[in-house]
Point group: C2
Chain length 511, copies 2
């Protein structure tokens, strides 16, 4: 197999002008990194089981509680609303999880496998603000969201669109999801992930994903077509919309990433082992709800646990605690045989050296942790408050670097090149050998943003910082946007659905 992060990618990137950019999915040749021993991972698992059996999880929605209460091995305390789980029911649920699944895009060549040795990278999820060197920081809007969707469509580094690229604050909150999801479905043909905001909105997202793919509900059950995310409310709570979303997605066999955003020392114990044990108990409880709703529903194990910076009260992004929480969470996901969603970020406000090293540090950790979906890896700034277009370009380069690092290296008679080495001999050079000539055009990774020239050349070209150069790159990409093909009937059906649902929602609001 060719180096997926290597030659094929470069061949695609070298194409210029508006055309469809497709790439094969990146597969990793490097194994994930284990920070803890298997025995310590077992201890954390056992601690989570003990939490579930003794303390329990507060399921805030009556529907989820009543559903869970019907199953042996689950005790629901209707006073406290706490739900306690026996070990057996947890282990049963875990045994039903698929280890990988394909998330189908409306363009089948963009479908992505989540699990195994496959990796995907995705954007920062729904920040309220957008920033670039052109116009500065401003509120998110539907126009900005659509602009970003178009940029994401053209960005080879981005495999999947998560949530809204920026919050469309100018849209009515009641129907925002309809316009937002329809825009996803029309402006991009990459796989996408919706919000979990209760039954009705979840159902709207499912229908929009189904219509966009032109399939029926039965086919969709066999072909996961929409990802959703459920975030637990640490400590040990799953609120009503999240519980409903889990059950709705399970009924349709659609995949969900279950994420704990446990702030260590605030809403989780201050020690990492305890914080992860609690995070894991929350995720296990959600897994049980999902698998009891429909065994075999695909799930991802998600972690975004980090600490609060004691000096400023800010959430820490770019810290060893977050990196280590990812590494341990990845090990738990592997123990459970389920795909892993890693998540990263930076606290930087400007696209400076801090933005670079914090993002690259956590991206490296996400890949080391065995992330199958590396969420928030593109565009993230200011603790997820802002998406920044120059940062999108810088992050894309980081993502390409990681794809290249984990790519398979072929060791064969051909690549060992012993004849060539002998022919050149000590003190010679390889420029003129046939072995080099046959390969030099596509041999090496090409940076898009990085400048490697000497200082004199760089000054002569304008002496720009990387963030200044990035502006030109996103403008070129934006200008190159090609709307992915969609047939008229599908487009009409989507429009009709959105129109009809808006009328229903407006009527319900008025009533």
């Amino acid at each position: 197999m060719a180096r997926r992060g290597g030659r094929q990618q470069r061949l695609m990137e070298r194409t210029s002008g508006p055309k469809e950019v497709l790439r094969p999915q990146t597969k990793r040749a490097t194994p994930p990194v284990d920070l803890l021993s298997a025995a310590d991972i077992d201890r954390i698992h056992d601690a989570s089981l003990a939490i579930l059996a003794r303390t329990g999880v507060h399921f805030m929605g009556e529907g989820a509680r009543n559903f869970l209460a019907r199953h042996p091995g689950i005790q629901v305390d209707q006073m406290s609303e706490f739900v306690r789980f026996d070990e057996t029911i947890v282990e049963n649920a875990l045994s039903q999880l698929p280890s990988q699944f394909t998330l189908h895009a409306r363009n089948p060549r963009r479908s992505m496998v989540l699990g195994g040795d496959n990796i995907t990278f995705a954007n920062v999820v729904t920040p309220p603000f957008v920033d670039d060197r052109d116009a500065g920081v401003r509120d998110g809007s539907f126009d900005e969201m659509k602009r970003l969707l178009k940029l994401y469509q053209m960005l080879p580094a981005l495999d999947m669109c998560l949530g809204y690229p920026v919050e469309p604050l100018d849209l009515s909150p009641e129907t925002r999801h309809l316009d937002g999801y329809a825009a996803h479905a029309v402006l991009t043909d990459k796989p996408w992930r919706a919000y979990t905001l209760g039954d009705d909105r979840m159902f709207d997202a499912l229908e929009i994903a189904r219509i966009a793919r032109g399939i029926d509900a039965k086919t969709m059950e066999r072909e996961p077509s929409l990802l959703a995310n459920v975030t637990t409310n640490s400590p040990l709570r799953i609120d009503e919309p999240m519980g409903e979303g889990l059950m709705t997605m399970a009924k349709r066999m659609q995949p969900v990433s279950i994420t704990s955003f446990a702030m260590i020392g605030a809403i989780a114990p201050i020690t990492l082992a305890g914080a992860i044990a609690q995070q894991n108990a929350e995720i296990l409880a959600a897994i049980v709800l999902s698998q009891l709703s429909r065994p075999g529903t695909p799930l991802l194990y998600g972690s975004f646990s980090t600490n609060v910076h004691m000096k400023s009260g800010a959430i820490a992004f770019g810290n060893p605690e977050l990196a280590q929480a990812m590494l341990i969470s990845g090990q738990l996901a592997r123990r459970y045989g389920m795909p892993f969603k890693a998540a990263m970020g930076t606290g930087a406000k400007v696209v400076d050296v801090q933005a670079g090293y914090e993002s690259q540090y956590l991206l490296s950790a996400a890949v080391m942790a065995g992330g199958h979906l590396c969420a928030h890896s593109i565009g993230f700034m200011e603790s997820a408050l802002t998406v920044n277009r120059e940062k999108i370009i810088a992050d894309s380069e980081m993502v390409e670097l990681m794809r290249g690092m984990v790519a398979k290296v072929e060791v064969s008679n051909d690549t060992l090149a012993l004849e060539s080495i002998h022919e050149v001999g000590p003190g010679g050079n390889f420029f003129e050998t046939q072995h080099t000539i046959d390969r030099y055009e596509t041999a090496f990774w090409q940076p898009r943003l990085a400048d490697w020239e000497n200082r004199q050349n760089w000054i002569e070209k304008g002496g720009e910082r990387a963030d200044e150069r990035a502006t030109k790159i996103w403008k070129e990409l934006e200008a190159s946007y090609l709307a992915p093909a969609i047939d008229a009937a599908t487009r009409d059906e989507l429009d009709d659905y959105v129109t009809r649902r808006k009328i229903e929602i407006d009527a319900a609001c008025a009533a």
Copy 2:
């Protein structure tokens, strides 16, 4: 064991004002990452043996050639000056290598173990230029070198000083090494590494290291006190000064890092497997010379192989090829049971987002590769042409982040905190628990450079980029310099040695 990258480090960093900054050596809890299978590593090893047996290595120094010619299993062609090695003599040499050793500093508490689960980080080696936001880019000088040595002495992230911090271009080339090494020995008490510039200068470095530690030559043989570096001349050449340096260091049992800087596609095959096979053949030849000179001499396996950027002709720093070459080289070092020297860099000219992500990318790769000595990890700019003081600060933060990522996480009843989780319960918070109160002061990593505050607070504090903030940090560190204690007799002996040798060298030059 406490988290070495964690609590103890933070306790030290929180101390303010001029005082000695000491830290325990960082140990890694994460295993290195294998990119290739063991079978593929064996294939590369076998290919290197085939190169050594068939093509051979050009030893350019007569001394080394004649010495090697005396050993069975080695064939020296006196016409071509190529030296060919049988497999047995290579395997014999490999079997004599120590798997780890201590590099003794003149302050014993700063001695560092190279090998095992220990990691060290060091500066960019001898760039000709120095840069900072204060005075811009200028030529290296002895004054700048001494200023940098003082900064390195105060920098907790830096474990070891390699080469000259900047080339002292204003010193006479004939005696530069005497002033440079004496400055190392006096201004810092960290372990250090000298150049390999032939017999005489190597001997001067050894004597300066010995005098600074106040030991005799016999003790020094048991206690490695000076590291040197030998770089092969790819393809398949070892020049006279390098060969002499290897033999001189071996005679004194002092450690050497053997590095191949094979530019892939130029002075090495364009395919990674072949480039590494050639690099490995060069390093194996050097290992044989060293171990025949004195079996058991400690060595490090070094790789700095990367490609040339085809568009600009620049050496690529911040590319998957360099990262993958490090990963494979680390595997070879582990196969040979010897410590590994990783090396990294960036092509950036300014301390911008590119400088951040390229450096952090390769630093992550160096740690993943199992680097025992992560060379060039502090201050590197512009393909090693420049050392930059703001970058020193940014890199120090990256190094601290890596120390934190690989630190051991304790999983125990105490850290699992089940009682605390039960006491807080669903929906509560952990601020007031005794478990939190007992730990919050030292629980989390504290950034020195990163700003995690919200945009409003950051703007009110001046809205500075990280590189602007870094200027203040290095100025504070410089101002806090405390000269490490040295007794007057040692100081006199060093001065006498330098004075005497300068007279000898001047006389020899005049003759």
